[in-house]
Subunit: 649 residues, 2 copies
């Protein structure tokens, strides 16, 4: 046993690491960031590192492949034999058994993810559940020995009519001191006109709340000033539950496979993560977690259940019934969330087993129930949620789009971080490629600087649409093997197309789009398209008036390219637009306007959920929807919608 | 260090005890009960033991005074030099340093206290806050995938009109499983028509609740069947807080003297004790703590605050304002009480800083506010609480009676346990004494069996009244030094009167009433009398129509003797009666009838509290009230009230 010297390059960080720890663990201990989409779960293959063999007198070590655990089959899935020969390993698998010098290749260097769950700039009418009141009390005397709570209540009654006022138990415990410390002048925070949750000495002008969108992959938190409605700051993190499974079903499966502690671990991980997020968020804004007086939370039904510590077993099996639809208020403390001890957590209602509170958030943000237009709202995350309808009727549905649209399960896929290719153009004549990288203003051909590290979700959609438009892939998604370009090639007998040449990247390798990548995206977009089509069938409508792309992903894809690929049924392109993280916006709206909470419960009850998988023609429709719409023999839904340059290149 | 053999006699229990532990700790480890009124706090001197020196081959030990820590000054306060010579020690002080054989004298053997907080047999209208409903649900299908909570709510709505039904968070966590386990047939426990707190598979007919009276000295718990109203069992324990101080003020002082953890320790000790009590109570009745669905708690204001974990600092200083008057419902879990996880604890309202929820319990049990008679209710415990008035007006007050009336601070005082002298008669001619001992049917002179161990509170009152009647003490409480009886004697120069001769006791010593004992009782009764008199003055009344003695103590004293001593102002003796532990009864009434909770809040608001100590003539009145009413020159308030045989013996 014992410890060994571990040195990371290019940062040069080093330290003593206990034998048996993985390289990934070591990197975390030494503060070196290695990209790990799956959170160290041996699933994504993104955490590749390179062992530098040799004797390094400068450091006093000899680094050797003997000083890491033996190369495993699991690593073989992501690392080719040549790469293995060069010293490549997966950092989540390889264990330290001696002194090593590790090089982290450019593509494995984690950089702060571009928060794709940024809040949209919306006008929100301010009517928060938390109100502050400043009151001055007359101190008690022998002649007037009324108790502290009753004295405060009377003073509040005089100022504002709150007839059935209670006090949170935790707040009662500190009431007497606060009153005396403030010399009987205090600021009281009242929740929903009925519960005193905070009493602070003197005059206090600020109150804070946080809206949280618990996504399957990303958790976003919006810190808001409840007095002004101002968005103070936005923070995001990966949902720590990803280590237990990447999508909703795998998380439910994990919980069921670990009856003794699976739920507890899953619940604890999101709560612990959220606590950390809230701590950072408040610290950066010179606040304390105790300054947070309320939270509003949205998430899909599985996230909702796991967040609340409710066993998700029955939302995972037919007929997929949730434990509760209605919104619920729970004390943050009962959930283990470290904010103000009396703070409430308002969790928005869920619609159905697979259409959750996040979708309700989208609905109260977008208000399709108040419009005449027949609208389709697509909220794409790891799970795809669809709502269709107008003021007369709303139906919802969900489909498993998988993580492909977020850049995972794509050979060079990566998160939307600096270095990710987010836009791709393929010249239909020369088949030459131009691309744009996150973090740089100019396109590749304009600047000629090799900086690409991978492709993010929106880049993949862009690329695929372009490959199709240029005839490089056909309707079925198959590569055309006669492509007259050096960019087309076979790798291990499988076709791929080079997007960035080695010298255009910072990872020392070409970045390609592979046949497998195309298939992954086809599955995702096929699921979305099928869902929408079946919903139209159910509603008996032929056309959509509007398509709203919600969710982080929707904000970054080019609506035109998405329609080229057939991600959703036909619609006037001018009426297709992205609204950002509408689920998170909905949470923020509910945080700042209590009337919207009532509306959320009403709309959640009103939306009719359609379980797509039991629709009789689902499978056939899905097979069809996997195809990319036909171009030369114009597919009806593109007529008059897709610009000429696409239909007749 | 190491361990030493410790043997207790007469039980013969033995074991290995770690060096440095006190004899009292050792007795607890070995399951031997030693009386300890103050809970091992070196304050009561009741835990005397006798070290038996010598070599005991049978046990293979040599017992020696060298095997206990050196005799300390603290022990010297309770043990005379002769007793010291005989091997007497205080078990809470003496530490084990070697093998010892310990004899526990009869008077130190703890026996189960007679529960003086037994419930009175009252007719209580049954209208509990907890109601059980059996419902059968239609299972969900794809066509009807409504969530579990909403499904249950709808079924309940059909059965009974409960429009604003919520579910406790903890209950929600288990809802889905309970429904499926019961095959969609369940019994639901609803609290106050608004909160589902339990869902059990199948049909359940029984629900339980516990009423708790947290006394300063004794905690009593009443386990009730909420469906039938039946009192299932009564348990009592010493309030574990006594180790921090015997009365209310010393507990408050302790908390203030230990700002870092005093409150927490005080709070934890009552909660831990209660948890143990509830565990024993449920086990003995073949129940689980989880079967307890609600608790109702009463206690004086300090006990109320400490129970709720509210700092009592401001009820200890002028103007003695409590943190809250109103009743409060707290989740048992938030208090750390181990019953059903969603159970609520209803704490009755308090009237003032020194008139608490226990007094409110007395009021809803006795209902003076519904009567025309001018009534005085005296609730005597460690603290004396007084209420006076009728349907027009009610005033309350409190006075520190101290623990004397409970047998503490009395030389031979003991709890009301078997062996305690509870009745005393002194023949005014011969000055001979007859007495009755708890646990025996006959009086001493009738059976001639030596069994007395000490004198309990009611015995002291009896004895004092008799000493006065016989002229052994005078109006001022001073002993008449010319008493022609061998029973009168001086001990260390201080007068005392022998109640039981050595051969009439089981402790090998005479049992006496000392001058100091008389003074202690005078202080207590003087406080009560003064309080009542000042309240009459305030109400502008000359006479009381009725005097009710509430509290355990009140049930055991002879009203006639109490009036001879002048414990309360004059009243027709036929209209003086005891009602037992009315505070506990009030808690039980509130547990079984929710309407009474509303009434409690109303009456608590209505009662006007009088702070006696600030009344200008309090001190003078108190000095006067310390006297025993004059007999030969009939005192006005006894005229026509006290029977002739007392006035003219």
């Amino acid at each position: 046993m014992g410890k060994h010297k571990v040195i990371f390059q290019p940062s040069g960080r080093r330290g003593e690491i206990e034998e048996g720890k993985t390289v990934l663990d070591a990197s975390r201990e030494l503060g070196v960031e290695i990209e790990s989409l799956c959170g160290g779960n041996r699933a994504c293959g993104k955490c590749r590192i390179k062992l530098e063999e040799g004797t390094y007198e400068k450091y006093g070590i000899t680094s050797s492949s003997q000083h890491l655990s033996a190369f495993s089959d699991e690593e073989g899935k992501f690392i080719t034999p040549e790469e293995k020969g060069e010293g490549y390993r997966l950092s989540c698998v390889a264990e330290i058994t001696g002194d090593v010098l590790i090089f982290i290749p450019e593509e494995s260097r984690a950089e702060k993810q571009v928060i794709r769950k940024a809040a949209t700039d919306r006008r929100i009418e301010l009517n928060p559940a938390i109100r502050l009141y400043y009151v001055e009390l007359i101190p008690p005397t022998f002649q007037d020995p009324l108790g502290d709570f009753e004295r405060l209540k009377n003073a509040l009654l005089e100022k504002v009519h709150l007839p059935s006022l209670n006090i949170a138990y935790d707040t009662l415990l500190n009431l007497s001191r606060a009153l005396r410390k403030g010399k009987w002048k205090v600021t009281v925070a009242v929740w929903m006109d009925r519960e005193i949750i905070d009493v602070k000495p003197g005059r206090v002008e600020e109150a804070y709340g946080v809206a949280v969108d618990v996504g399957t992959t990303t958790v976003a938190a919006y810190l808001c000033n409840l007095q002004t409605g101002k968005l103070v700051s936005t923070h995001a993190m990966m949902n720590p539950q990803v280590i237990f499974g990447e999508d909703v079903m795998s998380r439910i499966t994990f919980v069921m496979a670990h009856p003794e502690d699976g739920l507890e671990r899953m619940h604890r991980s999101i709560i612990d993560g959220l606590n950390q997020l809230l701590q950072e968020m408040t610290r950066e804004n010179n606040l304390q977690p105790e300054d947070i007086l309320e939270l509003v939370v949205v998430g899909n039904t599985a996230m909702h259940h796991l967040f609340l510590n409710i066993h998700p077993e029955y939302i995972g099996v037919s007929p997929f019934t949730p434990a509760i639809h209605h919104s619920i208020d729970v004390k943050a403390r009962d959930l283990g969330i470290n904010v103000h001890p009396a703070a409430n957590v308002h969790v928005l209602p869920v619609e159905a087993g697979f259409v959750g509170a996040d979708n309700v958030g989208v609905l109260i943000a977008e208000e399709p129930d108040r419009q005449d237009d027949m609208v389709l709202i697509i909220d794409v995350g790891t799970n795809g949620e669809l709502v269709m309808g107008n003021r007369n009727l709303l139906v919802s549905s969900s489909c498993a789009t998988g993580p492909a649209l977020e850049g995972a399960h794509i050979k060079f896929g990566m998160r939307a971080a600096p270095g990710a290719i987010e836009r791709i153009q393929v010249n239909p004549e020369t088949l030459d490629v131009n691309f744009k990288v996150i973090g740089q203003d100019l396109w590749n051909l304009e600047q000629k600087v090799a900086t690409a590290k991978g492709i993010c979700g929106s880049g993949i959609i862009d690329g695929m649409a372009e490959l199709y438009r240029a005839g490089i892939i056909d309707r079925s998604g198959r590569f055309n093997r006669d492509v007259p370009s050096p960019r087309f090639r076979l790798s291990d007998g499988k076709p791929e197309f080079v997007i960035a040449w080695k010298e255009e990247t910072s990872i020392g390798r070409e970045i390609t789009i592979t046949q497998q990548d195309v298939r992954s995206v086809q599955l995702a977009k096929g699921a979305l398209y099928t869902g929408a089509k079946l919903m139209m069938q159910r509603l008996g409508i032929e056309r959509l008036d509007r398509v709203i792309l919600a969710g982080a992903f929707g904000s970054y894809i080019d609506p035109e390219k998405a329609m080229v690929l057939g991600m959703f049924p036909d619609c006037d392109l001018k009426k297709v637009y992205a609204v950002g993280n509408a689920a998170g916006d909905g949470a923020r709206i509910a945080l700042l306007n209590r009337d919207k909470r009532k509306e959320a419960d009403e709309i959640a009850r009103k939306v009719e959920y359609i379980e797509l998988t039991i629709e009789t023609d689902f499978q056939m429709a899905f097979m069809e929807a996997m195809q990319i719409p036909h171009m030369t023999d114009p597919f009806p839904h593109l007529k008059g919608i897709v610009p000429d340059r696409i239909l007749n290149p």
